[in-house]
Amino acid sequence: MSNKDPILELRGVSKSFGAVQALYQVDFHVAPGQVMALVGDNGAGKSTLIKCIAGIHPIDEGEILFDGEPVSIHGPKDAGKLGVEVVYQDLALCDNLDVVQNMFLGREETSSLRALEETTMEKRASDTLASLSVTTIRSVRQTVAGLSGGQRQSVAVAKAVMWNSKVVILDEPTAALGVAQTRQVLDLVKRLGDQGLAVVLISHNLHDIFEVAHTITVLRLGQNVAEFKTGDVTQTQVVEAITAGALSKVPGHVQAEVTA
């Protein structure tokens, strides 16, 4: 799948917050059907990178290419229009609403008389969950409060996928889940890739990453230190890169202050 052209590509992206250089000359790319893991220690710049892609932080330098074309992303709406959806760690679901209502929140379909098209929405939500083979949710009309962590994650992912998205970014999707729930979510991540979506997976769990990811990008102190294919390396090599990867460019002392 790495023979495909990347759908999303970042070239030489830099971002600083005052004196703190959060990203320095970072290159990053992900292709359709590819699951790209993004790893690094705390403060390595993973969150900053996805926030730049999602349009929450504007980039200082470098360029973002979407489908080979340079684009400028000035806000979450721009990212959404391009087909980039982010599933944040705190899932942003409303506990008192049901699965369908959550999946369409803010983008409800209405008919004449401004009435909600409940039937259409329920059908589309069911179809989306079915296409992702999410079988553990008994009814799409139950409130999200009654769902387990894995089911909630599935709903959040389905919500992101439903809008013809091309790139789905998952921020630590398994961080708070038990063994069986983690299994559900990892299967879901694999299926997203199999369906031709570009998936960016942020995780601290190398075991999970080796199971579902095709390639791994390692960030350290705001810089690229390595990019691996998961078949070519061992977990030990990845850990070495995370903790002691060679910094090719040393922009200055301020750089070492990047923490947490």
Binding site: C94, N96, R107, L116, T135, I137, S139, R141, A145, K190
Partner: protein, 419 residues
């Protein structure tokens, strides 16, 4: 491509959301599921209906005038103002906010309406313009309070507590030295004191049932067409029959006495309107979302501030309408307009009916059922000749009981994973 991707194991599993046999699910299966829900704490309106039956039995056993046609019509008129104010407060409670000013906002509207129509006054207006101005004043007050709450960031409790004092003052200032103003306009008085002709009441009822049946069948058909699980036909028929039976009883009983008061039509229309807004429109969905998780609503692109301001405006608008209805029923306004236990009864009505004070849970029907409970108690104790003191104590205990039932069932729901 590294080739570490394991084969996909579960891609051929059954689709979600369509329980086996959903197409032909029987009424008994539905009843069983409902009962399972009740046992897990999804009581819905069940406790309050049991409570109403208890109230009726107790008062009827003490005084056989409680369940008479005349008292039934009285009850409708007595509960009208609390119901309308309660419907408004539901919007604010759904956000997890509170509005303490509605009592005196209703007073301001009632006084405004009456003063604009004094026959010898220099500003004498017809009923239409006077009511429109009073309602606009109410909406304006809500808008102002909503803007302060959202844009300045003062908690709604404080803003509306200030409103409670300030609008009480405005009522006194408006009335000045007039003391009591008698309303003479026949249209305004007619709201709460005139009754539908018998035949008209029946025609309205039949039209209402036909509309409800049409909507139910339409919903059934569109779900079937989309291949989604639909409720069994027998349940829909049962529901339509239930509404028809309730409507026939109400109209038949009321017609034995003076008939259906016009204010009953107003309440029914408001009930349909606001239920539609809350359950069937994007705006209503966003109210629930903001009350459930404001941050999630914001990330979903909902303008949270606008939703909040609109809810406070609706609440005050409904309070103004309730004030006009109250003035109509009393045929006059005075310096006590909007005071007394009106505010607390209205909030209690919404809460007794099952609206959560913490936001995200509640319906318009909560206000109607809760107001029916409160008005029944007031009415029944009045028939028994008991004092206001006894009435307050009993209303307080009922409120406590209703919220306790809600808290206990919430615990049940949480342990059953339904929250």
């Amino acid at each position: 491509m590294s080739g570490t991707t394991a084969p996909v194991e579960t891609s051929d599993a059954a689709p979600v959301g369509v329980p086996a046999g959903a197409e032909g699910e029987s009424l008994s299966a539905y009843a069983r599921r409902w009962w399972a829900g009740v046992r897990a704490g999804e009581l819905g309106s069940l406790p309050i209906i049991i409570g109403l039956v208890l109230i009726a039995v107790v008062f009827q056993s003490q005084n056989d005038r409680f369940l008479t046609a005349g008292n039934f019509v009285n009850l409708i008129v007595q509960m009208a103002a609390i119901t309308v104010l309660g419907m408004g407060i539901v919007f604010v409670l759904l956000l997890g906010e509170i509005d303490l000013s509605i009592g005196f906002v209703s007073g301001v509207a009632g006084v405004t309406t009456a003063l604009l129509m004094i026959p010898d006054g220099s500003t004498q207006l017809g009923a239409g313009p006077a009511i429109a101005l009073a309602l606009a004043a109410g909406a304006g007050i809500g808008l102002l309070q909503g803007l302060i709450i959202t844009k300045v960031g003062v908690p709604s409790f404080v803003v509306t507590l200030a409103g409670l004092l300030a609008w009480n003052g405005v009522v006194l200032l408006l009335i000045g030295d007039k003391g009591t103003v008698i309303i003479q306009n026949a249209f305004v008085i007619g709201f709460a004191n005139d009754f539908l002709p018998d035949a008209t009441a029946w025609i309205v009822l039949v039209a209402g049932i036909a509309l409800y049946a049409g909507l139910q069948l339409n919903g059934f058909r569109s779900r079937r067409a989309a291949g989604l699980p639909a409720e069994p036909m027998s349940l829909i028929a049962l529901r339509i029959a239930g509404l028809a039976a309730a409507g026939i009883i109400v109209v038949a009983v009321a017609n034995q006495d003076r008939g259906i008061p016009y204010v009953f039509l107003v309440i029914t229309a408001l009930y349909i309107l606001w239920t539609y807004v809350l359950n069937r429109t994007r705006f209503g969905r966003h109210i629930y979302a903001v009350g459930g998780n404001a941050e999630a609503a914001r990330r979903a692109g909902i303008n949270v501030d606008n939703v909040r301001i609109a809810c406070f405006a609706i609440c005050s608008l409904m309070a103004a309408l309730g004030g006009i209805i109250l003035a109509s029923r009393l045929r006059s306004i005075d310096t006590n307009s909007g005071g007394g236990d009106l505010l607390l009864n209205s909030i209690a009505a919404a809460v007794i009916g099952g609206t959560s004070l913490f936001g995200g849970r509640g319906h318009i029907k909560s206000a109607v059922l809760g107001a029916l409970v409160i008005a029944s108690i007031t009415n029944g104790l009045g028939l028994l000749g008991l004092s206001a003191g006894t009435r307050f104590v009993i209303t307080g205990l009922v409120l406590l009981a209703a919220v306790s039932v809600d808290s206990l069932t919430r615990r049940g729901r949480a342990s059953a994973g339904r929250a």
